[in-house]
Amino acid sequence: MKKIILAAFLISAFLITSCDEELDINPQGSLTEGVITQDEVWVNQVLISAYGMLDGHPNYFWAPASNWALGDVASDDFYKGSSSGDQPPLNDVERYSPGTTNIYLTRKWNSIYDGINKCNQTLRAAKLAIENGADANKINPLSAEARFLRAHYHMDAKKLWNNIPFVLETATEVPSNEVDAWPNIESDLEYAIINLPITQDDAGRPTSWVAKAYLAKAHMFQNDHAAAKPVLNDIISNGPFSLVTNYHDNFNGDKNNNSESVFAVQNSVNDGGQGVWNGNTGNRLNHPYGPDAPGGGCCGFFQPSQNLVNAFKTDINGLPLLDTFNDVDVKNDQGIPSSEPFTPYTGTLDPRLDWTVGRRGIEYLGWGEMPGMRWTRDQGNGGPYVGKKHEYLKSQEGTVSASLSGAFNAINTPLIRYSDLLLWRAEIHAEDGELGLAMGIVNQIRARAANPDGFVKNEDGTDAANYVISEYTSFPTKEYAIKAVRFERRLELASEGHRFFDLVRWGIASQVLNDYLTVEQTKRVYLSGASFSSGKSEYYPIPLDAINSSDNILKQNTGY
């Protein structure tokens, strides 16, 4: 009996000791710190992930790199589009009444700070690699890229929220947002300027010149023209950038990274896997609404405003109507079914209109004439126009667009174009009273736009509309010069996510946008009652989630 009990206990004891070791199980499908070799290869792979957030979180169309939602729909250039009940939080953005939990703000914040976090991971990995004996000459350029990207992300946040925390790689808690972030942004860019090479093998990586362009942008957004001027002069005189011959080449997926592209999000499709998630996911809802349209019929968001279309009108001299452009509308097909006839506007127009806006009766990138109502999801809600710059040519179907779904394509998302940079310089000239120099730059931009080879053509080779565009002959006053430069900026860069931030930067957002709302709400019922609150609406509310999770270190913006 005793023997048996003893035996039983021995059996039990044996089982206890032998099974315990089985509890040491490594995580499956993940790397832990112990198995990673901290060297330049690893630093570069982490850095790639920091680039990976440039186009926003892939599963979020709420956080587009192009800022179409918070930069263009929030401006006088675009409507939300689509139908009234789809993505209602964007209606709140458009009406300047976003709540603190608005998904477009929360996701954009998270997306930006995820990018920053990955930059900081890169910097921490770089430090470890050097401690482990990696070659600093190989590591430092990678660190410079990470700091450049960190500046980019913070600058994006700065434009949206102004009072933002600048997160360093050493941060262990959320920094205060009551400290101005500009000095840190500039410091990252200055480091990048020094440590980045002047050319890069990979088109997606910034050079020292790109970092300079970002520094200029940082100065422009601080209205520090004195600081911006020498940087811009350097880039224009000595840098590698130039305007391309045809305006549309900037939006052609087969001409990505041309000489005008200063910095752009590198989009790609059919790149292994499903081949969609790196293909401009931020714009994936912004295609005309018709199965015979590019984008595969989804989902009709991001429709140009009548005000924007009107801005492209030109007078008999081929110049824009700076003050009166919105007095009479460019004729549109509102309320006219696609099956009924419609003759497009016959007045004179800037040719860039038809590379920016898809409108009834005008050839649409090889997809035939834009058929009007049939390509809009709910014309009554979103108006008669559709966007165009982020759309691929019919001939590029399956190559520039993803073969799995046309909603994704490889057209790069421009962040800074050379014309953008030139127009900053023109702004400074105008403000400094150098009217001739300002006009010279504006005319340089207009001359390119006026290249008739670059006009939208009908199938028979004739111009698709009555394009009349010419260069200015004089900027009579400083005020005129400023107005003309700003107007040119709107025409040249429309739908590239700059407009709202420019209006805020110039201090005219309240006036321009309230004027816009007064007229536009007669056309779009959902805008009635909306208004821009000066001193509040210039910046968005800090997402409640971010404030709550910061232990209330983050303070809410004025008015929210």
């Binding site: 690893w42 992930s49 139908s83 079914p337 019922v525």
Partner: protein, 1053 residues
Amino acid sequence: MKQKFKNYFILLGFMFLSNILLAQTTTITGVVTDSSGTPLPGVSVIIEGTTKGVDTDFDGNFTIEATKGDILKFSYVGMSPVSFKIANSNTINIVLKENASQLDEIVVTGYTKQNTRNITGSVTVVKMKDLVKTSPVSVEQSLQGQASGVSIGSQGGPGGNAMVRIRGFATINNNDPLYVIDGNPTKSGLNQLNPNDIESIQVLKDAASASIYGVGASNGVIIITTKSGKYNSATKMTFSATTGTDFVSNSDFPKSITPQELANTIWKRFENDGAAPSHPQYGTGATPVLPNYLTPTGANTADESTYDAFTNKITKANKAGTNWFDEYFNPALVQNYSLGLSGGSDKSKFNVGVGALKQEGVTLESYFDRLSLSLSSEFKVRQNLRFGETLNLTYSESVNNTGSQFTGGDISFIYRADPILPVYDIAGNYAGTQSSGLGNGVNSVANAIRSKDNVGRRLRALTSFYGELDITKDLTFKSNIGFDYTAFHSSAFNFLNPEISEPSAVNSLNESTFYSTRTTWFNTLNYRKTFGDHKIDALIGTESQNYSFKQFGASRSVFFTNNIDYRYLSRGTGTQTNFGFGDKTALFSIFGKLNYNYKDTYLASVVFRRDGSSKFGEDNRYANFPAYSLAWRVSNEEFMNDVSFINDLKIKAGYGEYGNESIGSGRTANLYGNNETQSSYAISGSNSTVEAGYYLQSLGNPNIKWETSTNLNVGIDGTLFDSKLNFGFEYYISKTKDMLLQLTSIPTLNGTASPPFGNIGEMENKGFDFSVGYNGAIGEELKFTASANISAYKNEITRLNDDPDYFIQGNAARETFPARSQEGHSLSEFHGFVIDGIIQNQTELDASADFSGKAIGTFKYRDINSDGVIDDQDRTYIGNPHPDFTYGANLGLEYKNFDLSVLFQGSQGNDVYNFTKFFTDFNSFPGGKSYRYLNSWSPTNTDSALPQLTNSPAQHYSSASSYYVEDGSYLRLKNIQLGYNVSEQLTNKLGLESLRVFVQAKNLITWTKYSGLDPEINLQNYGGGGSTNLDIGIDRGAYPVSKSVLLGINLTL
């Protein structure tokens, strides 16, 4: 019958022998069984006229010194006592017959068998007799209304999962109970088991009874024992068959608005906005005109001869209106067959069960087919050495409805399908929203029919092998190895759907497969001994578990044809993808239990378990979970002798702890990796190649440890009035501490990296379970039983972290988050704006707080913080998905050869968040609307709950609000069955032991105020773990519980 004769012979034989042999003291041994051959432990064996006696052991064996001529008295609660005079044989086998009114059961609770009447914890024994009466297709769903404290939620649909919750919600993490099937612990759904193969089900509800199972037992334990044969029994065959129809009544469908009424609402919107009405289909006139054709758009004539399926689809308007619910739901045939064979000799016993289920779904083309084979046998190699095994092998094929509880699913799309759309165009191809102005809905009928070959195939083998050695007659060693294997394969072909406004660009085939294995090995030593009035039952054991899981999937796009025989990945020509991942975990435990019983009057139990989990770091790997319980059988006390109406009365109390570790594995360390969608980038500038980026994906916490629940349970059980009335009442308090929660995500600092877990939360559940039963007779012929149970719990999150304002958001319903979990509230309450009706006039307008778009005829939002402005600060808790109580009532009648059973089941006081109203009650997406929408507010219709129709999405219309919250209480006639036992004369003629036929109806009537398809709305992701519990009772378009009418037959040979 044969068995009976055998026993008589034995009895006669002994009596005969006893007369011719001389008196002498001998050792008598034997087995006591019940009439079905199950050994009875704990039977009192006393030599009449003396105090000398013993109890039978675990297997019904007894040994006693007696003299020839002595009379042995066998007595046992619930059985009629038997006296037996000792004759010549030293071996006596006794069969005790049940005293019908005093039924007790021997059940498995915690690795050993126990008599239910001596249980000190909270255990509900589900009477298989009652369960079988529901002709269940799935084990879990059959539990509904049968056991107090157990609530079941149905996912709906053939082969659907069920949500089983025992006594509320103990944690934010996985709340599924632990199932122990023939010793195999599992958390995965039981719809793979054939209910006909089950012998018994016990639900362990408190720590005293459950904590011996350690890991995951904090959500309760459901012990399932499959059927086994009986020793010394004739081979018996049973056969049962049911067939019938499942259906959803037309009266359950929301009343659908006519196309003209729908068009009128569109015109009304324009009129109210002061704008000129226009619509692609209905023209621009003063009133909307329904066209004859939807494609061509709004046309009154079309040249039908020009039809082309792709380039010139022609679709007629259905001016009378299509009832999409009726098109999508159809009566479905259900057939279920089970065959059982069992028997045994004195050395071996066996049971074989074979089942075939063919269940069509009430939605088009869905089904669940299940084949099952269950085998068990046991062999006595020596008198003290037994080996046995069980095998449950199930293969199922199913085509599931893809749309349940998902706003992009087929059912959600039915709510918003436009009635003017026909199902088919003029050529018999599918019609859809490609016709202008009708929104972006899909044709759910087309989806369902196209998906009819998208089959999921599952093989599950659940098997155990054990050996038992009686080291001495009191000490038994058992070793049991269990193996649970699942293999799954699904093949899904996605068709081109040119009929809709947002069609797929390509067709594609997705195939995926996974396997999971779980090996469980436990060893126990069990010591049972009676010392006079003292009985001891002690157990020690060890258990180890290893789990692994691996998934693989691949897809290919662009198939030349949709032909089913061409659906192979290699035949596609487009994009090809693949994916795979897996998991591994292990557990190791030691445990012990000591039950003490003094005169059946004072009962005590101590349980101890020490669990180790691979999910925790070495320092926190193990935790101890003790439990203690006491019971006092008051009815055994002398002072109760005079209280004759009390047959049995027991007061019990228990306290214990148990653990939960149901978070993902690997959370102790920082985890890095790459992700094609999130971290790859085309750094080279190429349009078609990306480089992989690696990043910190989830943050680890090396200090995480076991989540622990403490549980206090007090109760009283009794049988009264000649054992006609029995009742049980229990009250409990459960407190979970160190609840494993993901720490607050700090996106500003850590981006989207998954935050670490910490043991930071606390939760409390309080409640009671009450059940009462009565069995009686009226006259000789009419017997009846009635039982009812009622359960209530109150769940409260007592802590999430240091910040009382912190909350955890539930899953999104489109852009809104209607559920929140926060300290001081129940898990997953509804949160949003409170709507106090409609602003009726200028005075009310002036008095109402401001929001963008405020006007007469819009919602009046409650200004919670009284600052005059409606913004995010004015949201509050607006509803609670937890019921005040749930209840069930069973009625049984037997009259001559007829029997009738009726089961009611209900839930009271729970709210449902009816998100389908987002589509049907607001100008959200073009498509079908409700009559409520048609009846929206106007100056002449001021009683409406909905604001004035407009094209303008005034602020907050789409926000979570009290408008969506409805009372989800219901009472259901869950089951009614009428059976007829064919008379013995006839069965004898047919050579049958028994034959019963029955008719049955399930879920026939539901009383509810809920406006959706069905009030039984539970989780969004059944069996999803993780965030599953963060969102309860939100109807995103849930699959309704179907009704059934069945015919059946039970036959024993």
